[in-house]
């Protein structure tokens, strides 16, 4: 699934047009998936959006966009999502580079390490972090045992925990698209650059990195969109003290049964994600 998403994002600008034409041309055979999507995706989302304007009033949106508390949650969400995206890039780019340039056996092993966690539930992986990051967790006890610190560092129920947990879950979404783009970069380009007098760094910064950018943009988009709407990890590792927008939405539904407001928050979240996607794919198009 990730690979497909990555391929779609990394595939370049000709893609949407081709998809549109395909739909127009093969209405008969294409109508089944279209109906499927309409019934299971478009309709529920539309129905939810309708909740937000129930009674023809925009009061939920007013509250979502103007109330100081909720604006802060939005800003926090965007800030955390940006941080997660940045950290995922800083960690993921070297990993992707290694996988793309390593001998085949190493690359396969590395990819396996990235894929295996996908077979484990996010919930379990997130709870595992509470064992690692807790006051009496592995990290704190090791550091105290080594005499590096005296008091345990608080890494749970705050932003550190949320960042660690989210980056852990989302890094593969950064690695795969970058890897798939890097693998298609002709290795003789680096030789050509070097032969023309470029140092290793010049060859990387002027040739390799620009050519890997489509993958970076695709990975960034994926990770950013996923983090903006992330729920489980911030809910568990944030311990109620790090409120991201998805946590807020869940509370509105679960605790207050305020479907209208929850729908309005969702609509704003969706709009923000689409805007981010739009901006990044525009940037991607200019690059090519």
């Amino acid at each position: 699934m990730v690979a497909t998403a990555a391929a779609t994002l990394g595939g370049g600008r000709s893609r949407p047009r081709r998809v549109l034409r395909a739909h127009a041309g093969t209405l008969g055979s294409g109508s089944v998936p279209v109906l499927f999507l309409a019934a299971l995706f478009v309709y529920p989302v539309a129905r939810l959006m309708l909740f937000s304007v129930e009674g023809g009033s925009l009061k939920h949106f007013e509250r979502a966009l103007l109330d100081g508390l909720h604006v802060r949650v939005f800003i926090d969400t965007l800030r955390i999502a940006s941080l997660v995206t940045l950290l995922s890039f800083l960690l993921g780019y070297p990993v992707a580079y290694f996988l793309a340039s390593a001998p085949r056996a190493w690359a396969t092993a590395g990819l396996l390490f990235l894929i295996v966690p996908f077979w484990t539930s996010v919930l379990i992986r997130t709870y595992a972090w509470t064992v690692v990051l807790g006051r009496n967790g592995v990290i704190n006890r090791s550091l105290i045992g080594l005499g590096v610190i005296e008091e345990p560092i608080a890494m749970l129920n705050n932003e550190i925990g949320v960042l660690v947990g989210m980056v852990h879950v989302l890094v593969p979404y950064m690695v795969f698209p970058i890897f798939s783009v890097m693998r298609r970069i002709d290795p003789s380009l680096a030789q050509a650059a070097e032969g023309l007098g470029a140092s290793g760094w010049q060859s990387f910064s002027r040739v390799y990195f620009p050519l890997s950018l489509p993958g970076v943009l695709a990975g960034t988009t994926l990770v950013f969109i996923l983090s903006v709407g992330f729920f489980i990890t911030p809910a568990i590792l944030g311990g109620g003290r790090v409120i991201m927008i998805a946590v807020l939405i869940e509370r509105q539904v679960h605790e207050f049964s305020n479907w209208g407001f929850a729908a309005a928050l969702s609509a704003v979240l969706l709009a923000a994600s689409l805007a981010a996607y739009g901006a990044l794919s525009l940037a991607l198009r200019d690059r090519r």
Binding site: D186, L189, Q191, A192, A193, G195, L196, G197
Partner: protein
Amino acid sequence: MDARPLSTPGRVALSLVGVVKQYDRVQALRGADLEVRSGELLTILGPSGSGKTTLLKCVAGFEIPEAGTVELGGRDITELAPNRRDIGMVFQNYALFPHMSVTANVGFALRVRRVPRTQIRQRVQAILALVGLEEMGDRLPRQLSGGQQQRVALARALVFNPGLLLLDEPFGALDRKLREQMQLEVRRLQQRLGITTIFVTHDQEEALVISDRIAVMDLGVIEQLGGPRDVYARPVNRFVADFIGESNLLHARVTVAGDAAVLDSGATIALPEIRKPGEEVGLLIRPERLELRPPAPGEDASFAGEVAEVVYLGNTLKYTVRLDLGSTLLVRRPFGQPPVFDVGQRVQARWSADDVHAVRW
């Protein structure tokens, strides 16, 4: 040429001594020796797997040989990093930077050398004019035809006035017409700039057209180094004789007198020069050196036979003649010049003694 003091013709520009390179268990270079003279175009010709590309990589610095030395302009560069070698290279697939315009591609070597911007612009414009692409500066590589990409790659490799130009099978991707045109163009450009050039190819025809000298490689060593006429007319061994041009190569043994050789069929052929008595040799007779006649009584019957195949090649006719004594001969005759034979006709093959060349078997 006078603009380039570097190119004193005849001086040794590049020399390789005993270069050995091993990949896993395969020895790609088994002690290759080579001297390239300043200003010449030297072709390394060999089949795939002969080690010619490895040799080029050792010169460019993408491979470091296990033994031997590489010297450029008197300086030992055996282990020098590629970016310090001052060598321009055109890759087999051109390796143009796909995200850069033609101008940016060509100017790359100057930018990484921190040449001032205005100077870069001038030099890039000048070299693009030289290869006839001054109007294409803003295009991306993928918006160019194969021939144009080739020229960009050439311009990019030449713009920083390198001491040596390497061309790695650069015409492989072009169709025949364009390839022939580019061969002549590259040759003219190379002579005009007087730049020492190593050209790698597996195409012997191409090598004959373009080179000052040809180094024929096989199995990791250079078998013969000489001018095109030399390697064609006087190959040193069976491999070279067979690899360059079409050939009739007949196994024979030199007579006691040393002035003739006896074929497997028992026929005797006079040799143009004295060889060691009893030596096993291959007798090379190029197909265009053979003549066909209707058989006449009293002639040496060992070169009589029957036409087995005739191929019309536009300017020549190619005959396959099956000799009565078993072997076959390839014969090429200019089209329109009698006598002409059909399949099944009896013929007598003739040649002059000078056209026989004996090589080690």
